[in-house]
Symmetry: C2
Subunit: 310 residues, 2 copies
């Protein structure tokens, strides 16, 4: 359990790993941070925690991976609104002094990658390791893309093939058990998930009606989008990544690709191409009957792993 000195040293470790604020803002070190607000008068707010033994296993990833992931999964929530991140608050519970340094490094790397300022947070002793992040963001100049406005007839897209994270986790476990290797790209998909910020912006500018990130699995996340929108969904095919299985793609979760509905195929493809992005994969369409959940001729189960390691 950190002493006062230990806590002060840990805060200094984190502060040193991070950039300094502009002179009209206050970041780490006061009771609250002071930041500028978005010009369009609207703020996105989200929070997500990663918990040892639930969301990560320190036999398979290191502290910097945990720091990266804790921030990236929050950035993904903002991306799924068509937004870009602004600030993050990071609360670390139960980390040793040596772990703090790695966490801070991973957080700083993700903060730099996503242009997201880490402006404050909290450190506490605790019997288990939890990294809890809250994030702000902006969708300006456009309105946020909610998950509940898909319409029958809208096409469904995903920003990349799915199942890489689940396949990566399986490979890391096998390797840890001395039973094989895991391709770097799959291991990285699990250890260092990528939030699709530019893709979310492109989807929004192409008129996406609804969007969600694939955090828990395509089955459950697509069900959430359809249920919130009051539409059914029919998938033509599963976008399974090389090295992954259909189950990985459907229920593995933690891919953090974006699924979105949009009415105009050309507008979607033009928007992604204009932004220099990989084109999204069209996977199906929304239909009138709100009870419909189909993958080809089969029922599409609303399954996903809410707590994959649990």
């Amino acid at each position: 359990m950190p002493s006062a000195d230990g806590e002060i040293a840990a805060i200094e470790t984190i502060r040193r790993a991070l950039p300094s604020p502009p002179k009209d803002e206050v970041w780490i070190g006061d009771d609250a941070a002071v930041v500028a607000v978005p010009q369009d008068g609207r703020l996105l707010l989200a929070a997500d925690a990663v918990v040892e033994g639930v969301h990560f296993d320190l036999d398979l990833v290191d502290a910097a991976d945990v720091g990266w992931k804790a921030l990236a999964v929050n950035v993904s929530d903002v991306a799924a609104m068509g937004g870009q991140p602004l600030q993050a608050l990071v609360t670390v519970v139960g980390a040793s002094a040596s772990m703090i340094e790695g966490l801070a490094r991973g957080l700083a790397e993700a903060g730099a990658a996503y242009d997201c300022a880490i402006v404050g947070g909290d450190l506490s002793a605790g019997p288990c390791l939890v990294v809890s992040v809250a994030i702000t963001g902006t969708s300006a100049p456009r309105a946020p893309v909610l998950r509940g406005n898909a319409r029958p007839g809208d096409l469904l897209f995903v920003t990349g093939p799915l199942g890489r994270s689940a396949a990566g986790l399986r490979g890391l476990r096998s390797r840890a058990a001395g039973q094989g290797t895991v391709p770097d790209d799959l291991a990285d998909a699990y250890r260092r998930p990528v939030a699709r910020v530019a893709e979310g912006r492109a989807a929004s500018s192409s008129g996406a009606s609804a969007m969600i990130d694939v955090s828990d699995g395509l089955g459950i996340d697509l069900d959430r989008l359809a249920s919130a929108s009051g539409v059914g969904v029919v998938l033509e095919a599963l976008p399974v990544a090389p090295g992954a299985t259909a189950d990985d793609a459907l229920g593995g979760g933690e891919d953090y690709e974006l699924v979105f509905a949009a009415g105009d195929l050309d507008a979607v493809m033009d928007s992604f191409a204009a932004a220099g992005l990989r084109l999204p994969i069209m996977i199906g369409a929304c239909v009138n009957n709100p009870a419909t959940r189909r993958l080809g001729d089969e029922p599409l189960a609303a399954t996903g792993w809410l707590h994959r390691l649990g």
Copy 2:
């Protein structure tokens, strides 16, 4: 560990306990909440977690107390900037279904008491109970009161007597051990701390130069204010609450009264009186020598209990 159904049920429990958003905002249920930003272009951001076995003990408090405290300690951070809270994000790790209901009740009570909307968050399984809150706030129409701008010659004030929380905790422990009773007001000071929002506003409007909340103990929190400001501090007396000891007042922590520096005694008293508030207690003054920390003729130790139960 919650299943998907358990998580959905828990989110519904929390949502039912809370008010609904205005029609131009989105709260719980999408990837991110969408809220309006303060008119003055500045946002306050803070985060604080409460951890079982560190910040609370479920033998002494109930889940609703934990929910209240988790939000109130964050509101206190905003109050210490001269601000008022706007929105909170709440992440709950490791709570049972039965505990969720109590937590939601306490969070809703604190949200109503402080006019702070709970707009989102996260629920996760976990091996220990953590309630991690992030909060937004505004100090408009005034600038935030930082902790680092106190000047030599400023007077020091505290918004109420100290040590009640520590005395309450001691009393609750004794009672739990079958060794006596504890006055309700002291028990409440520990179980249901009060954030001094109106007092922080009054201090700000009276020209407070620096402010901090007494979360870890007067000794350490006053040292933080003095160190950040580059001034020394000389206290004339300790504001010890009835039923508390001098040690409780100096190092007990968790009182959540505000300590502030201000140059104009009359302006301070007028501002508090005009707001209908209990007048603050003048406890000393800031001095030139930045190394000075005195209580009367004795050295004032920068002690406090960072993790009281640890």
